[in-house]
C-alpha cells in the first residue's frame, strides 16, 4: 500500500513538471505569435522560466518531509539539548528509617585499606532453574536496575510458576507410564519399593532412560529419587511422625 502511494506521488510530480514545462513553452509560443511583440530571447526566457518553475515544484514535492516513512529528513538535525550535570553526590535520603547512629552522610568517608587479598575472581555462581520460584505477592518492577551490576534484572517482577497456596507441600504429579505387561514380570528380580525417607509404599514411578524416577505420594514427604536397576536400593528409614501427615499403616516408628 505504501509502495503504491509512492508511485502515485512520483507520477503526479512528473505530470506537474511536464505541464509546467508545456505552459512555459506555450507562453513562449504565444509571445512568438505576436500577442505581444517580444524578441526571441524573451521567448526563450519564458520557456526556461516555465521549466524552472516546474522543476522547482517537482523538487519541492520530492524533498518535502514524509512523516509516514521517516526514512529521510532534509531538515537539519536540531542540536541535542545539553545534558544535565551529573550529581556530585547521591541524593540525600528522603526520610531516614531511624535516627542517625553514625556520622552524617556528607562527612568525608574514611576508607580503610582492606586486609583481604583479592585473588582471581570467578564468575558469580548461577544455578540452572529447573522450576521457577513461586512468588506469593507479585509486585511491580522498578524503573532501573541496581547499580552493582550483579542483579541487573528485575527478579521481583519475574513470573513464577502458578502455584496456589494449597499446592504447598503437595508434590507435583509425575507423568505416569503405563504398567508393563505381566508376562515381563520376573519374580526373582522383584523389588519392593519403599520411600527411603519415610518408608511409604505408595510411589509414583516413571522410566527415565535406563533409570527410574520415583516420587513419594505421602503428602508430608514428597521425596523424589532415582534408581538404576542393578544398583542397591537406597537405605530406607521409616518415619511415622513427619510433620503435617498421618502415619502409614503398620509402619514402625523410628526417629530420623
Amino acid at each position: 500500500m505504501a509502495r503504491r502511494g509512492r508511485v502515485d506521488r512520483q507520477l503526479v510530480i512528473l505530470v506537474i513538471t511536464l505541464l509546467c514545462g508545456l505552459l512555459g513553452a506555450l507562453l513562449g509560443g504565444l509571445f512568438g505569435d505576436g500577442f505581444l511583440t517580444v524578441s526571441w530571447w524573451l521567448r526563450v526566457l519564458a520557456v526556461l522560466g516555465g521549466t524552472v518553475i516546474g522543476s522547482g515544484v517537482a523538487f519541492f514535492l520530492l524533498t518535502a518531509d514524509r512523516p509516514e516513512t521517516g526514512r529521510w529528513s532534509p531538515q537539519p538535525e536540531r542540536p541535542a539539548p545539553p545534558r544535565p550535570p551529573e550529581p556530585s553526590q547521591p541524593p540525600e535520603p528522603t526520610r531516614p528509617s531511624w535516627p542517625a547512629v553514625q556520622t552524617p552522610p556528607n562527612s568525608q568517608p574514611n576508607r580503610m585499606t582492606p586486609v583481604a587479598h583479592i585473588g582471581d575472581r570467578s564468575e558469580p555462581e548461577t544455578y540452572p532453574s529447573t522450576e521457577p520460584a513461586r512468588i506469593a505477592l507479585p509486585l511491580p518492577g522498578g524503573s532501573a536496575p541496581p547499580s552493582n551490576g550483579t542483579a541487573t534484572r528485575q527478579w521481583w517482577a519475574e513470573t513464577p510458576s502458578a502455584a496456589a497456596p494449597s499446592d504447598r507441600r503437595e508434590p507435583p504429579a509425575l507423568r505416569r507410564s503405563p504398567a508393563p505387561p505381566l508376562s515381563s514380570y520376573d519374580v526373582e528380580s522383584a523389588l519392593i519399593a519403599q520411600c527411603p525417607r519415610c518408608g511409604e509404599f505408595r510411589l509414583d514411578v516413571s522410566h527415565v532412560a535406563r533409570a527410574y524416577a520415583f516420587q513419594c505420594r505421602n503428602a508430608s514427604c514428597g521425596n523424589t529419587w532415582s534408581w538404576t536397576p542393578g544398583t542397591p536400593w537406597p537405605p530406607v528409614v521409616v518415619r511415622r511422625n513427619l510433620p503435617g501427615g498421618s502415619a502409614p499403616d503398620g509402619a514402625s516408628a523410628e526417629r530420623g
Binding site: 531516614p96 547512629v101 583479592i118 544455578y127 509486585l139 541496581p146 523424589t224
Partner: protein, 288 residues
C-alpha cells in the same frame, strides 16, 4: 502462621540457603564495647566462626568430606573492595572472591586463609580458624541495594530448589539505611519483595541483627516492638517471625522465646551475635 511450613530438613538433595548481608559502612569502625576490636572486625570474626560451624556440622564422619547441606552467600554493603567505591559485592575473598552463593563443600575447601583468631565468644583462648570474610568498612549504608542484589541470587536459588527449606537471609547492621528509597522503592518494600520469594516449604526468612558499640540491654527475639528503642520498631516490622525449629533451638539454648517472636536481635554483643547466628542457621538435617 507457620502451620505446615518450615518443616523441611536440609539434605544433600534439598540443601538450604543462607545469605548474610553484612554492613560495611564507615560507622562499623566504632569499637565494640568489651572486645577491644571494631564492630567490623568483630562481625567478621563471628561470621567466620559461623561458617566454620556450618562446615563442621555438615561433616557427619571423621575425615569425611563436608556435605552439601547449604549454599552460602555473604554480601557486604557499604565500602567495596573489588571496585572501589560505595555499593554491594560478595564479601568472600581469595579464591571465592566475587562469588554469589557458594556450595558448602566448596566453601570449606577454599578459604581465604587460615590464621590464629581470638575466640568469638570472648573466651581467653585463641585458635586457628579458616577465614572467608575480612573486615571492611567505609562509605554509607546501601541496605536496599544489598537486598536487591542478594534477592536476585535468592530468587534463582529458590527456583532451582523448589522443595528445600526456604532461604534464610540475615542482615547484620549497626545503623541507618542511606539509600531508601532505592530505585524508587523504600526499604520495607524491598524486604517484602525478598520475603515474597518462597519454596514449597514457605517464604524466605529475613532476620535482622543490630549491633551497638555501646553497652546496652540486649533484646533477643522479641515478640512485640513495644519498648524497643529506635531503630528497633522498624527492624521488628521487617523481621520474619521465627519458625518453630528455630524457636525450639533458642529455647534449648536457654532463651525465653515467646509465641510470635521475630528474628530480631537488638544491641547484641559479640558472643550473643554468635549465638543468634547459630540459632538462625541451625536447620534440622538428615543423613542423606
Amino acid at each position: 502462621m507457620h502451620d505446615g511450613m518450615y518443616s523441611q530438613s536440609v539434605t544433600r538433595s534439598d540443601p538450604g540457603c543462607i545469605v548474610i548481608l553484612l554492613d560495611r559502612s564507615d560507622s562499623m569502625k566504632a569499637p565494640w564495647s568489651g572486645t577491644g576490636a571494631s564492630l567490623a572486625e568483630g562481625a567478621a570474626l563471628v561470621l567466620n566462626n559461623i561458617l566454620l560451624d556450618l562446615c563442621i556440622t555438615a561433616t557427619t564422619e571423621v575425615n569425611a568430606p563436608v556435605r552439601h547441606y547449604f549454599d552460602i552467600g555473604v554480601f557486604g554493603y557499604g565500602a567495596r573492595v573489588t571496585t572501589p567505591g560505595e555499593g554491594v559485592e560478595s564479601a568472600f575473598g581469595g579464591p571465592l572472591a566475587g562469588r554469589g552463593l557458594v556450595p558448602l563443600p566448596e566453601l570449606a575447601n577454599r578459604p581465604l586463609t587460615v590464621r590464629e583468631e581470638p575466640s568469638a565468644d570472648l573466651m581467653s583462648v585463641s585458635a586457628k580458624i579458616p577465614i572467608w570474610v575480612e573486615p571492611v568498612r567505609g562509605y554509607r549504608t546501601p541496605m536496599c541495594e544489598a537486598i536487591a542484589v542478594a534477592g536476585g541470587h535468592v530468587f534463582d536459588w529458590a527456583g532451582a530448589h523448589p522443595n528445600s527449606f526456604p532461604p534464610i537471609v540475615i542482615n547484620i547492621t549497626d545503623g541507618m539505611v542511606t539509600d531508601s528509597p532505592y530505585d524508587g522503592v523504600a526499604l520495607p518494600e524491598w524486604v517484602t519483595r525478598l520475603t515474597a520469594i518462597e519454596t514449597s516449604d514457605g517464604p524466605t526468612l529475613f532476620f535482622n541483627v543490630f549491633l551497638s558499640p555501646t553497652q546496652a540491654p540486649e533484646i533477643i527475639f522479641p515478640a512485640s516492638p513495644a519498648g524497643l528503642p529506635p531503630p528497633g520498631p522498624d527492624l521488628f516490622a521487617m523481621s520474619s517471625q521465627l519458625p518453630r525449629p528455630m524457636v525450639e533451638n533458642a529455647r534449648a539454648d536457654g532463651l525465653d522465646v515467646q509465641p510470635g517472636a521475630r528474628g530480631l536481635a537488638f544491641n547484641v554483643g559479640r558472643s550473643t551475635l554468635l549465638k543468634v547466628l547459630q540459632i538462625g542457621t541451625r536447620v534440622p538435617d538428615r543423613p542423606f
